[in-house]
Amino acid sequence: MTIKRHEPSKILSHAVEANGFVFLAGITPKDTGADIKGQTKQVIDEIDRLLKLCGTDKTKIVSATIWVSDIRYRDGMNEIWTQWNGGQNLPVRACIEAKLADPRMLVEIQVTAVK
């Protein structure tokens, strides 16, 4: 089985392809000054970019885990989420509250897709 690793850093690859699956890293926003909707949009744009890099797209996402720094951000995040996928091709999903790497980060999303 060939494993293809994209955009590696010292600690992680941003996307890994194997066996027809695409695993993305937990994606966090770059501009942490934005509110929950702005941060969610940034994260989703980055997910779109990485999926494209791997030759797939948001319609092929099978699973998503979403961490928000305060579970009350769920509604704001969901608004952008639904705008993004249009309620179509919905993956299994879990959304939980967790402290993220930087306290200014309000959301982190990790998805797994197929090609």
């Binding site: 089985m1 494993i3 690793r5 590696p8 850093s9 010292k10 600690i11 992680l12 690859s13 941003h14 996307a15 890994v16 194997a18 066996n19 027809g20 699956f21 695993f23 993305l24 890293a25 937990g26 885990t65 961490w67 967790a98 402290k99 993220l100 790497a101 982190e108 990790q110 797994t112």
Partner: protein, 122 residues
């Protein structure tokens, strides 16, 4: 894609398997044995058990695809990362997410879940 047989290895306490393989993929979970150790010691132990689980299922750290790491205190991320980098060495980096969460016992500092490719035949 045929999923083939499902192998369940390293059963624990009648509640879970620490390793499951199916469809060319392996998934495993790991914590430290000694919950009195600090983040460095617990990370080393947890990663050693990941090695054990990967070997049991016919994979290795070079075949890691995706890893989720939960820390009891996210401020221990840098200390954990130093052990993580040393452990990975020149192996390709998996996708990864690291978040803070309360674990089963407050003395635990780290829990790891991993997905890897089964390497047999490669």
């Amino acid at each position: 894609m045929s999923t083939g047989a499902i192998r369940r290895l390293e059963p624990e306490g009648g509640i879970l398997s620490n390793v499951v393989t199916a469809g060319g993929l392996l998934t495993c979970v790991s914590m430290a044995d000694d919950r009195t150790l600090d983040i460095v010691g617990q990370t080393r132990q947890a990663l050693a058990y990941v090695d054990h689980c990967l070997a049991a299922g016919g994979s290795s750290r070079r075949h890691l695809l995706s890893v989720t790491i939960w820390l009891t205190d996210i401020r221990e991320r840098e200390a954990m990362n130093a052990v993580w980098e040393e452990w990975l060495g020149d192996a390709g980096r998996p996708a990864r997410a690291c978040i803070e969460a309360k674990l089963a016992d407050p003395r635990y500092r780290i829990e790891i879940a991993a997905i890897a490719a089964v390497s047999q035949g490669e």
